[in-house]
């Protein structure tokens, strides 16, 4: 069937070549269509399957139809090795994806992102020696793919380690400068490799050095970032992996790879910007990390006193309310309290009380973290309300229960210009008639900023692990 159909630029092309490109076109369209469906709740699952179908198609046709395009038209070699290792990767990926707990979702997304970045890095690294000296265009895309892929890889590994609680946030003021120097050296090295007239095979030392530099930069760049900035970084790393894949697409002149990669890059950047907007900060500000420096001025405010609440009093307060809003944060995820909190809301709803969840865009450690967490506990979709929708209603709320959230309810965002979070949109918990804050202890939020909400006259603190506190609260309400 592989008949020569015609000639373009002096090279024969066959039915197979033509079918291959056609399949790439279909795959690219399926990526776009899938992503489109993914952004609407009703069609999201179908969208994911369409995109997966496009990927399967591109993989199969590449295996069957791809030819060495150096004129000879040699079919792919090593077919069985390729199939075997694709099989291994698929099996591992499938098992991890099916087995892992839903609460470990942010880690898992980071881990998969890391593996995509690693693949891009390796492809660029191995294709580099095949580049022709002086062909600046193709060396440029290879080097870009290498740098971006490496940063996405090591950055995502660090993000995974942080989300998994294996690594803490390490933020020293001088790190900003080290990172800046590291970035300049890495880019300088990249420029040197791109413009050097030396044949690529003699520049391998430089390409290895560049790989190491990029990997180190990825580590250093994610290391200081934590807390509410984490969703921004996760989404940014995601975009980077897409761009790295697109660069590799350039190496092979493969349109499906270019389109798929750039699509992910653009979508990821939009999501990143959305997260930044939710914090009223610029992307640069997040990366450089201005937190930690500016918070000191806030210490001059008078503190007032902290008022605790007994479980029995909290149970009475909740039982005689009409409208309750639960504001979850990362602490809810850490305490694994999503199931018990749903039990609490079901119990209260059973008493005819209206219970809603107020979701801040950057609550948790990845975009939409709280939604996934509460969905796992079967909290109905309609009960989750976004920040902008719930805020106008907050003055009518009898009790706002803040569980493991801190900065996203800190009124300093409104009235303390010296605070690092000044200007960030928050959930107006302080407008509710009563506020119950569940907290482990009096530690500050990630940003290290004092939260005046704790000292509000309407606020009562309920100290302890969120899961056991809510459990006791549920028992208390039941026994009433």
């Amino acid at each position: 069937m592989d008949k020569v159909l015609g000639t373009i630029n002096g090279m024969d092309f066959t039915i197979g070549d033509s079918l291959l490109e056609l399949s790439y076109l279909i795959a690219a369209l399926l990526f776009v269509y899938g992503l489109k469906l993914l952004s609407h709740p009703a069609t999201a699952r179908r969208g994911n399957l369409w995109a997966a179908g496009g990927m399967g198609l591109a993989m199969i046709t590449t295996l069957l139809l791809h030819k060495n395009d150096s004129g000879a038209g040699i079919p792919l070699l090593n077919m069985w090795i390729i199939i075997a290792f694709i099989g291994i990767g698929s099996a591992i990926g499938w098992i991890i994806a099916r087995r892992v707990k839903m609460t470990a979702m942010p880690q898992l997304v980071s881990l998969f992102n890391a593996s995509g970045g690693a693949a891009s890095m390796l492809v660029a690294l191995l294709e580099y020696p095949n580049a022709i000296a002086g062909d600046i265009g193709s060396i440029l895309v290879t080097v870009l793919g290498l740098i971006i892929g490496s940063v996405a890889f090591s950055g995502s590994v660090i993000a995974w380690a942080k989300l998994d609680g294996r690594v803490g946030d390490i933020m020293k003021p001088f790190m900003t400068y080290i990172n800046l120097v590291l970035l300049i050296v890495t880019l300088g090295m990249g420029v040197f490799v791109v413009f050097s007239p030396t044949p690529p095979s003699d520049l391998m030392w430089a390409i290895y050095a560049l790989t190491v530099l990029s990997l180190v930069y990825g580590v250093m760049f994610v290391m200081p970032i934590g807390g509410a900035d984490m969703p921004v970084v996760i989404s940014l790393l995601n975009a980077l992996t897409g761009i790295a894949a697109a660069m590799a697409g350039f190496i092979y002149g493969n349109q499906a790879m270019i389109l798929g990669g750039i699509l992910v890059g653009a979508a990821g950047m939009i999501l990143t910007m959305l997260m930044c907007k939710a914090m009223n900060r610029s992307l640069l500000n997040v990366i450089i990390g201005s937190f930690g420096g500016g918070g000191a001025a806030g210490a001059e405010h008078e503190h007032g006193t902290i008022k605790e609440i007994q479980l029995s009093d909290a149970a009475v307060l909740l039982s005689y309310s009409q409208k309750i809003v639960i504001i979850p944060g990362y602490g809810l995820a850490v305490a694994q309290a999503q199931h018990i909190v749903h039990e609490l809301d079901a119990l209260l709803e059973g008493k005819g009380i209206e219970v809603k969840y107020a979701i801040h865009p950057v609550a948790g450690r990845m975009p939409g973290h709280m939604n996934v967490l509460l969905a796992e506990a079967d909290v109905p979709y309609e009960q989750l309300v976004e920040m902008d929708a719930i805020n106008p209603d907050m003055p009518n709320v009898d009790v706002a229960i803040v569980i493991g959230a801190n900065d996203v309810v800190n009124p300093a965002a409104y009235d303390d210009p010296s605070s690092p979070i000044y200007g960030m949109p928050i959930i107006d918990a302080h407008l509710a008639k009563n506020i119950i804050i569940m907290k482990r202890g009096m530690g500050k939020g990630y940003a290290g900023i004092e939260n005046y909400l704790f000292f509000n006259d309407k606020t009562r603190m309920l100290f302890g692990d969120a899961k056991s506190s809510i459990q006791k609260l549920v028992n208390e309400i039941k026994s009433m």
Partner: protein, 104 residues
Amino acid sequence: MEQALIFFFENKEAIFIIALSVFVGIEVISNVPAVLHTPLMSGANAISGVIIVGGIILVGHANLTSFSLNLVLGVLALVFGTLNVVGGFAVTDRMLEMFKKKKK
């Protein structure tokens, strides 16, 4: 300057694709509700696993008559790429299944 113009002309199709895909990417996901942020990110992440196609071509054109570091790295690229693709789509599906279940 001349170099840049040559680069543009030689790669004009790819550059067109990039320019247009940026807009498609932005357009397609704008106004996505917060509830879908995680699945969207995870699904997009799986699509970036399209690098696997590069991995297949890479290993498919390598001369693997003898064991070498390149062989190990190439094969690793394949495993990482499929891990991203299969794991990414599977976990997104699982997440969305969960969203659907609770709607009933």
